[in-house]
Symmetry: C2
Subunit: 348 residues, 2 copies
DNA sequence: ACAACTCTTGGGAGCGCTCCCAAGCGTACG
DNA sequence: CGTACGCTTGGGAGCGCTCCCAAGAGTTGT
């Protein structure tokens, strides 16, 4: 009746490890979870048993009993095809992966493009199927961040939605990056410096424009609004903006595009207008993507530390999760800004 | 004593749904899992309760009780930086995401670069923390696929390790793609057509070379081995190979590079040697990446249906998982080959 | 009218783990 | 020498769900 249940196949359980080590289940659990309240001798015995049996804890059981999942989600707005075109995504993932490498945390990838997927996502979160969320490339009007905040779900956002971002955030220094780019053009002797902006409802795009303005003003150049052409981060948008600029100010001698892709569009138009780069018009982009390296001429661009951002976001998130569970009420929301770097190539 | 336990906060459980619907836990479970053995009336009642309570099943509990995880892993060899540089990864992910959209399956992203991570990975699998695995960009000598096969873990591999791939696989038609590229060069009147290959221990690279050879032979051209330069998929390797080619056969009038990145390296060398593209030497790449579109001149390239591959891999995997659990012993290993497409631009 | 079936249904028995309480032991202190 | 505490330890009580068995209700056939 009370015969020991002998499990022949299958994965070993905590119970079996405990039996093998000659201790109780609770003690084995303590060792495996690194509790200090275990004698050295017992610890060794359990560790030996774990090694011999090749024990690996059952995640589902852990999650169920411990009311946590040991998993975080990376939420990617799939609709952002632009976003995907860059190595951005890969770099972020690499950074996240690196930061997670020493952890037991799993990385869940969630594409939230259409409404259908967003609904699923909301359910994930509602059901607490992850311990935290990394939000990447979120637009200002996205309801998700607020939803997460309401739910009290630890989250970190890449970039910001606006100046008063309430979520913990990790951003690159768009302002300084843009300023450095324009300063560089000024140092090269350019005087009529135009800019092609991204969608200005994206905070980063706004900041790049601010940086441009600041640099222009600081140099005492003419802050002609006709030198500012709004676009949408697309190649076609960049081309269109460049055409407008040439029409309004044919004397333009430098262009700072708020993305490499837009710069590529601008380059095309400049070429067609018979202008040489950089001889007639210097061109600088933003992102330092593959497009920049392979452009002809190679494009000077502002590099963002994407992988570093991924790593930092993850670290911040893990910290948030730890705070949350330890009931640490310190309500400081980290807002980290990472420096950018100007990579000078032949286009300027 | 037997007072109903009233749970005020927290997420609703199956038990609560059942109570609300006035049925038993088992019945509620049946409805939620779509069992047909429930009366229409009961089903409605339960569904109403689910809606009212906003019930979402607890994944961990499900996994624990059902001995499955409803999650699949996408295993990416992080060391493949080349791989990451392309939009390849993004496209695969998008395809996988699309195929998973109608499913309850979660996508786990696993970077398996160094040994440390591979060990973790082996543990994941050992502990059956996923229902299936998608392997992407695997080298011939990677031990992982065999390990998975031994463990009986449903898996699908992108590409193949060799001609006798044993795992279910989804590949693009490298052979036909290469042949089409070379045929196109021949149709353009080129006679001395060289090729720059990828690492030939990668099956796909070998197949592209085969396709090249086939096309050259079919056209009755001189199959001079000196027109074949091995490289390693890198830009620098492409440049080196191009130098060799020019040295051995200065009369070369076309080059088929087995990747866009290598083509970029070749282009550089061709330019430096004073040759014009395509006037003196036509150039064709493979992958149809961003590099191809932004090269000067824009590069003719062979497009692989990457997103489609991701979608197909996922479908195949889901099927494998279903077969496995239904005990369906049909041991046919799907091997799918998707067609490529030649995108003609100005370089040829 | 009764036996034999079929269709539904309820709920017990776990899944493997964490949490936590109480018990066992050893030691320091009055 | 007795009592109080601190450190370890064992194991019960769930976590929420699926599986499955047995019971109840309704049908059909003879």
């Amino acid at each position: 009746m009370a015969a020991a249940r002998v499990r022949s196949g299958g994965r070993p359980t905590l119970e079996e490890v405990a039996a093998r080590a000659g201790v109780g289940r609770g003690t084995a659990s303590r060792v495996i979870n690194g509790s200090p309240r275990v004698s050295a001798q017992t610890r060794e015995a359990v560790e030996a048993a774990v090694a011999e049996l090749g024990y690996v804890p059952n995640r589902a059981a852990r999650a169920l009993a411990g009311n946590r999942t040991d998993a975080i989600a990376l939420v990617v707005p799939e609709s952002e095809t632009r976003f995907f075109a860059e190595p951005y995504f890969s770099d972020i993932v690499r950074g996240v992966g690196a930061a997670l490498a020493d952890t037991e945390m799993q990385l869940l990838l969630t594409l939230a493009g259409n409404d259908r997927e967003r609904r699923r996502l909301a359910q994930y979160l509602t059901a607490h199927r992850v311990d935290g969320v990394l939000l990447v490339s979120v637009h200002a009007d996205d309801p998700l961040p607020d939803l997460l905040e309401q739910l009290g779900m630890p989250s970190v956002i890449s970039g910001r939605r606006h100046a008063a971002e309430t979520l913990p955030s990790v951003d690159s220094d768009n302002f300084e990056g843009a300023r450095a780019a324009v300063d560089h053009l000024i140092a090269r002797g350019r005087r009529s410096i135009a800019t092609i902006t991204g969608r200005l409802d994206v905070y980063g795009a706004q900041r790049r424009l601010d940086g441009y303005r600041k640099a222009v003003a600081a140099a005492g150049l003419d802050p002609d609004e006709r030198l500012i052409a709004p676009a949408d981060f697309s190649e076609e948008g960049g081309a269109r903006a460049m055409r407008e600029l040439l029409e309004r100010r044919p004397d333009v001698d430098a262009v700072f595009a708020a993305s490499d892709v837009m710069a590529a569009g601008a380059r095309q138009v400049l070429r067609e207008s018979g202008r040489r780069i950089p001889d007639d018009v210097a061109l600088v982009g933003f992102d330092d993507s593959a497009v920049a390296r392979h452009m002809d001429p190679p494009l000077t661009s502002v590099r963002q530390p994407i992988e570093e951002m991924g790593r930092t976001m993850t670290r911040v998130l893990l910290q948030e999760i730890a705070n949350r569970s330890s009931g640490d009420g310190t309500e400081e929301r980290p807002r980290i800004v990472l420096p950018t770097e100007l990579v000078v190539r032949e286009s300027s």
